[in-house]
Symmetry: none
Subunit: 221 residues, 2 copies
Amino acid sequence: MSTNFSITEENYIKAIFHLQEVNGMVSTNELAAELDTKPASVTDMLKKLKVKKMVHYEPYQAFKLSSDGKKLALNIVRRHRLWEYFLVEKLQFGWDEVHELAEQLEHVSDKKLVDRLDAFLNFPRFDPHGDPIPDSNGKMAQQEQVCLTELPVQTQAEVCSVGSQSSSLLELLSHKHIGIGTRLEIKQRFSFDNSIEIKIKDQQLITLSKELAQALFVKKI
Amino acid sequence: MSTNFSITEENYIKAIFHLQEVNGMVSTNELAAELDTKPASVTDMLKKLKVKKMVHYEPYQAFKLSSDGKKLALNIVRRHRLWEYFLVEKLQFGWDEVHELAEQLEHVSDKKLVDRLDAFLNFPRFDPHGDPIPDSNGKMAQQEQVCLTELPVQTQAEVCSVGSQSSSLLELLSHKHIGIGTRLEIKQRFSFDNSIEIKIKDQQLITLSKELAQALFVKKI
DNA sequence: ATATATTTTTAGATTCGTCTAAAATATTTT
DNA sequence: AAAATATTTTAGACGAATCTAAAAATATAT
């Protein structure tokens, strides 16, 4: 009795899933920005998704996915990441050029196809961006988050969390133009003071002190 | 400046291409039947496709694709058949279960993706149904395929394509253990009902109705 | 606690692809 | 060649997804 979802509905569900990972709850404006559409359109769709029991939503309140909604979201994420893996691993695309293509391929929702693709790829657990791929039951490995101090040189990584919220740390990060999502490569380590030299795309080399490196958590890319 | 085409428009263009292969020209009713829609809808779409210069169409007249339309059609066919090849060759689907899936995958039209898929599959020249796959320039190998009804008795032949993808046809073929690549010999023809008796290696004689024989295309061996 | 600003929802219009019913054109039959 | 039949097009409506502009609800600030 699996209801049918349009590509548009799937895109809304995926976006809500993504936003609620951060805050737990999602607002109309936030979602409109994420989908590059207008708040009025979001309200219309929320009413539709509520009828289909995919979201917990009351007018003027923040909302989130129902458990069915979450299940569907995980399934879409699974498809997306499997195709990304396929494109990089089998068709030699760069990890930075596959997102758009996977956005299109992910909407082919045939379960048999997805499961066979999974098997063909040898049941990969992480996509080319380091994000975990849900298995056929919707279970997803924990993201491999590593402290910057643990990475060998030449590794590429993306900042995904910071070890504290102290304003002194945030001030320093902003001064060095580092934030969540910043991609960097480890260039050199200095054992004398355990400092690290990194390079952010299109920028000069930057030195991070041991203390700063310890406060940065990244995922490999 | 390659204009953008919706999935619906692509489906119309593919269907016109398929029909005009037979007669050279296509009628509104024919196309409506092929697409399982109403003639009025076909007329609407023809007007749209004419504006986009994809069809030669005048009201109340039979129509056909323009050269641009034909080019697009060949590109869609290319995508469809490459995905069918992928599904059978890499994901272990049966040749009789890939049509629907390829219908969905074919609408991802990124040229780089298609060309890389082609390369990954080693530039196959025929899909799993025996139909030729257009190359990246739209050139398609000719196959001297003959309808089973045209062969004289005692001829040996190999099945290389089927005349439709209807599930009723595929069901019947699978029941009679006939598939792409099956080798057979024409044993006898009956003018009363135009049925044919054939023999497949190591099997008993089998009777094929006129309708079934018309749907089977073979090459002599 | 009242005024102001922000967020969210409604109301009504628009585009795409579809439909039905009726009108226009083309074809076939007599 | 006129009448009957079949095909195709128009006219008007509908559902999905979107938009703008205005109203309603909520949040913030003085």
